[in-house]
């Protein structure tokens, strides 16, 4: 009986998480699309430049730079902001799982989930 209840708890948590992820993806796609249309209107007639690797400019590599670029309506900044938003959706899922495991009083999985979250945070904010 207890096991049954636990399973139900898991299911509803997963349902909320599934919807959370889906909305995150839709918002991210909308931002990328808006930036993309703007980018194509302005630069569509130029030749593409992806054959030679130069790496992105510094302001498109870090969160603060991307936010600055996006809020000044720079086309690449807007698209990159959408991509950052997309990367954030699985991170939000992990954060949500931390809360869910705390509510379930599952200490072991709270710790496991926090480990995964710290790895993600290190990757995103570590400055490599």
């Amino acid at each position: 009986m207890e096991e049954q209840q636990k399973k139900w708890g898991d299911r509803s948590i997963e349902k909320i998480m599934g919807n959370l992820l889906r909305s995150g993806v839709i918002i991210a796609a909308a931002i990328v699309l808006a930036g993309g249309i703007y980018y194509l209107l302005r630069f569509g007639s130029l030749p593409p430049h992806f054959a030679i690797f130069k790496g992105e400019p510094a302001q498109l590599r870090h969160l603060t730079g991307i936010f600055q670029q996006a809020f000044t309506m720079h086309h690449e900044g807007v698209m990159q902001l959408g991509i950052v938003f997309l990367i954030a959706t699985p991170v939000a899922r992990v954060l949500f799982s931390v809360i869910a495991f705390i509510l379930e009083k599952d200490f072991m999985y709270t710790v496991f989930t926090l480990i995964v979250f710290s790895i993600l945070a290190f990757s995103l904010f570590g400055g490599h």
Partner: protein
Amino acid sequence: MNILEFTLLVAAGSFAAGFVGSLTGLGGGVIIVPMLTLAFGVDIRYAIGASLVSVIATSSGAASAYVKEGFSNIRIGMFLEIATTIGAMVGAYLVGILSPGIIATIFGLILLYSAYFSARPRKEHIETRQADPLATRLKLNGMYPSLSGKKKYFVRHVPGGFGVCFLAGTLSGLLGIGGGAVKVIAMDQVMRIPFKVSATTSNFMIGVTAAASAGIYLSRGYVDPGLSMPVMLGVLSGSMTGAGILARSQTRWLRVVFAIVIFALAVEMIYKGFTGGI
């Protein structure tokens, strides 16, 4: 070719990749990098960056559909994500160390494996023997819905599965792919988790794994917004269209065709990797 034409062609190709990827259950990520490098002449680091972004989009976009089916096991997923995310960071660092030729060759070998994986028949096996004591301690055993009601399953070989997941994460971070095939091997073959549970749980893990390398890709300048835009939007809309018309009985021939395409791309990637064409 100007940016507009390039963008539309890449978007169309990515749509097709996402569409076929979701019909065959393999994900489109595995053919994005060969498509961009071989057909469009894109540098492999930009290609890997754009592909990884699309992998996150499909994984997160499909999550709610998988949850409804009730197969995925969130504890197995979270536990194994410790291994896949550490691996993903290692893989992302390796992109900066290994030469593009070596990355292309490794990519080709993984494609060969994926071709085999998509063509092989799928057997459902359920482990009913007593579980690994470690799996019981970690609360990994679970139940899943079947035609004859809820079925219990037990998880075995936890350290082995954890190790293979680390490898899956490294490949994901190095190649910008979801690495679903390798994650399924870890769960299905090593840990003896039922195939449907493995497949849906692995989809859940793919997005989190990819996010762990995405941060590093971003700060190293592999993620070009102009290239990622058509790839992400194309793969996402393609896979959502594919998921809408999913009819599993008719996908057998498609899987075989897909396997042949992947095989041909694999040979080309390995050849170009060796001869320095990438």
